[in-house]
Amino acid sequence: MDLIVREVSHRYGELRALEAVSLAVQAGETLALIGPSGCGKSTLLGIMGGLLEPSAGEVLTSGPLPEGCLNPFTYIFQDFALLPWRTVEGNVSLALEHHGLGAGERAERVASALALCGLVEFAHAFPKQLSGGMRQRVGIARAIVVRPALLFLDEPLSALDAQTRELLMEDLLAIWARERTTSIYVTHNLQEAVRLADRICVLSRRPGRVKEIVEVEVPREERANAEHARALAELQGRLWDLIRDEAAVADREMQDA
């Protein structure tokens, strides 16, 4: 399913967070949203999936829903947002329980999502018993169990250490290769963006505007190869040049929230 963002602006009281943002996400692609901190990336993601109401502008979709889709706009959260009193299985099945599926179909869907995320032997564990990486895998399983049309990832790896992040990136790539879910990936980590995205949308400092949209030309499955390392590093450098000065200013800004 395609997603079209048309002239979206948003303000929190006096604070202008986004200004006239327009962009289009094509079915099957992964778009990364990057920009200096406080540029409204997460706000934009919330607006795209209908969790926030924009002050102006609109978000549209076109194209058919994937087969078996129960929740077209589905999020994966930075802080995982798992229910601590539910087991891994219970957390995944939460997303299905209000859809009136038969018990058999529900169990089947949960089991296949757990299998896809390598969580089968943790099905009955509580979140507190899991490592950060495993917790986020539960978040991913909960998202793919509803077969989303659009997957919104809000800095999904930011709360994890570098090694776990590396492992989860591989998992995400494997899942995307299989499901081809249209995804929007918010991150402040340029390396993640260059590794995972088809296109990278660079937002400017507050109020966020689209500064540039950069295509990553190396095919995703080849990006781990050594021969592309230089091209990818150059791209990362270019992205850094785009946001460096503004990131420095953003860093020195006082929080007024």
């Binding site: 969790l51 589905t74 959260f77 229910l83 601590p84 009193w85 939460l94 209000h98 507190k128 909960r142």
Partner: protein, 262 residues
């Protein structure tokens, strides 16, 4: 090789851990000291009966069946009053945790009514409901209501907003968000509120039974006091303490079972 000095350890203390048995030893020591001062004549029996005579007084009442009657009467009032107050408090507190209107009405009203000692309302409640059971149950229910409202409201308010957003992002209907996210998330706070409200119920039942009650621990203590039967008076007080301990034990078990995910 230059001279070496050990790095002194300074990270100890400030780490109270439960010592099993310490509480039993303390209890035993206090009771033993009490018994010793009574037997040696240091404590006159009229002012402070010895532990042994208290146990004897309790045992006599158990034999005659009087104790069971008093206990049953009190427990019935507590159970009914606590249940009514708790259900009301949960409903109002949840509403205040969710709806802006309920909150803006509920907070000032609760603040105004909570500090009123409910026992002061007993004469009024007797006027409304008569001198029998309903006025006593209503006193307990009112006493339980306000702390339950506050603990429920605070607990619901403390459920992380991101969990609610998560529920919305998966399209959970509002009722399911309340039932599957807000209430279980608020459960730890609600349960610790039960500790407070059950103690209040215990305090109020005794006070309420001091007016117009034939049976009940409060009536028993009052009667013993009027007749200067201090051994029975203290026996009644010990009974209350045991009751409090039993409730607290039961709540701990309930917490351990319901909050095993923590």
């Amino acid at each position: 090789m230059p001279e070496t000095r050990p790095v002194a350890f300074r990270g100890g203390g400030f780490n109270p851990a439960g010592r099993r048995g310490a509480s039993w030893i303390a209890f035993a020591a206090i009771i033993a000291a009490w018994q010793l001062s009574s037997s040696s004549g240091l404590l006159p029996a009229l002012f402070m009966p010895s532990p042994l005579s208290v146990v004897e007084a309790l045992a006599r009442r158990v034999e005659t069946g009087a104790l069971t009657r008093h206990l049953a009467a009190s427990l019935q009032r507590i159970a009914l009053g606590w249940a009514v107050g708790t259900l009301g408090g949960l409903a109002i507190g949840t509403a205040m945790g969710i709806f802006a209107v309920a909150r803006s009405i509920g907070l000032p009203v609760t603040s105004a009514l909570f500090p009123i000692p409910k026992i002061a309302l007993l004469p009024l409640l007797i006027l409304w409901f008569g001198i029998g059971e309903p006025s006593k149950v209503a006193t307990i229910a009112l006493g339980v209501l306000f702390p339950t409202i506050i603990s429920t409201y605070t607990a619901i308010d403390g459920v992380p907003r991101n969990l609610i957003r998560m529920g919305q992002s998966f399209g959970l209907p509002a009722a399911m968000i309340v039932w599957k996210i807000l209430l279980p998330g608020a459960l730890p706070g609600i349960l610790s509120g039960f500790r407070i409200s059950s103690s209040i119920a215990l305090i109020l039942v005794v006070a309420a039974e001091m007016i117009g009650a034939e049976h009940g621990i409060g009536a028993f203590i009052l009667a013993a006091g009027n007749l200067m039967q201090t051994d029975q008076l203290v026996a009644g007080v010990v009974l209350l303490s045991l009751l409090g301990l039993a409730v607290s034990f039961g709540l701990s078990r309930l917490e351990r079972w319901l909050l095993r995910w923590r």
